[in-house]
Subunit: 185 residues, 2 copies
């Protein structure tokens, strides 16, 4: 049922746009009532952002299993590369969803919220690994920013793998912060 509703919603959002489709229409296409729609998803936006729990789980376990010798930032690069297959597998679904999100402010807001939630999950996983709390949130925040940058580059230029874009982005960060830091204490 969830799948049916997600499929119907994505179709309608693409056909008429998010604002022009009502929850009742989505439910109708899925063969149920509006009320049923809101029993499966808390609101019209959430229907495009499923699998958050799975993503958090994948990230958390990857962070936990990363080689012990790596520093926080290295752990994140290693982790992001390790979920590359998962992201590529989901691309057929996320690709059309992103097109809709890209032209709908309300959906962009929700996407940012999801990213923030993921950042918090990453920070928590780093802490579980022994990284000090403040350092963990800082690393998670910047790491997610770099990841987002690499992901956008990957969307625009799929000829290179996500891993390549990740290497480039983390390399660029290295170059940036090497010149941008005050004298170390």
């Amino acid at each position: 049922m969830r799948r049916r509703l997600q499929k119907a919603a994505l179709e309608l959002y693409r056909e008429r746009g998010y604002d022009r489709t009502t929850a009742a229409e989505i439910a109708a296409r899925a063969g149920v009532t509006e009320r049923t729609f809101f029993r499966h998803f808390p609101d019209k936006r959430e229907v495009l952002f499923d699998g958050e729990a799975a993503l958090h789980a994948a990230l958390s376990t990857a962070i936990a299993e990363a080689p012990a010798a790596l520093g926080p930032m290295e752990v994140l690069l290693w982790t992001f590369r390790s979920i590359e297959r998962m992201l590529e597998a989901n691309r057929p679904f996320t690709e059309p969803a992103r097109e809709v999100i890209a032209c709908t402010p309300a959906l962009q807001e929700r996407e940012l919220a999801k990213a923030a939630s993921t950042t918090a999950a990453v920070a928590a996983a780093l802490q579980r690994r022994g990284v000090e709390a403040n350092l963990a949130t800082l690393a998670a925040g910047t790491g997610m920013a770099v990841f987002g940058h690499a992901a956008r580059a990957w969307i625009e230029d799929p000829s290179l793998s996500l891993g390549t874009h990740l290497e480039r982005a983390f390399g660029a960060l290295h170059g940036l912060s090497a010149t941008g830091a005050p004298t170390p204490r």
Copy 2:
């Protein structure tokens, strides 16, 4: 009028919580009609996020006026320090607002959207300074993440100045990425 509505909204959000206050109540306390409220603010959330244009302007001019010798990340640190006074001046208003935001998911979403918008403005200002586009968005993203981290630390521990927290955060970033980058190309 805007001020009156903002004041009324903040009061009511603090008294009853965001969800428990209707737009009509805010308008009534300000002595106007619900319709008038929506003429001044596009929605119930926006009333707590004013001054975005002013912030973007301040950041943009600061970035433009930063010493020419600085690298992108140094420009950002310099810029954030330069608006410290502005942020401290606004603190009497933003402080209670943040309390409400902190316990209201809907408002947190909007705050993230505002941060994203600011990040885009920063990236644009960096480009105007001659920084290459990709590098500018990467620097803006990570720089804003670091700034957000410093700002949160400042909220929790106001005994140190925002500038001190900024120095620490950028210093920590330097330490993080120094060990976390792949071998430079």
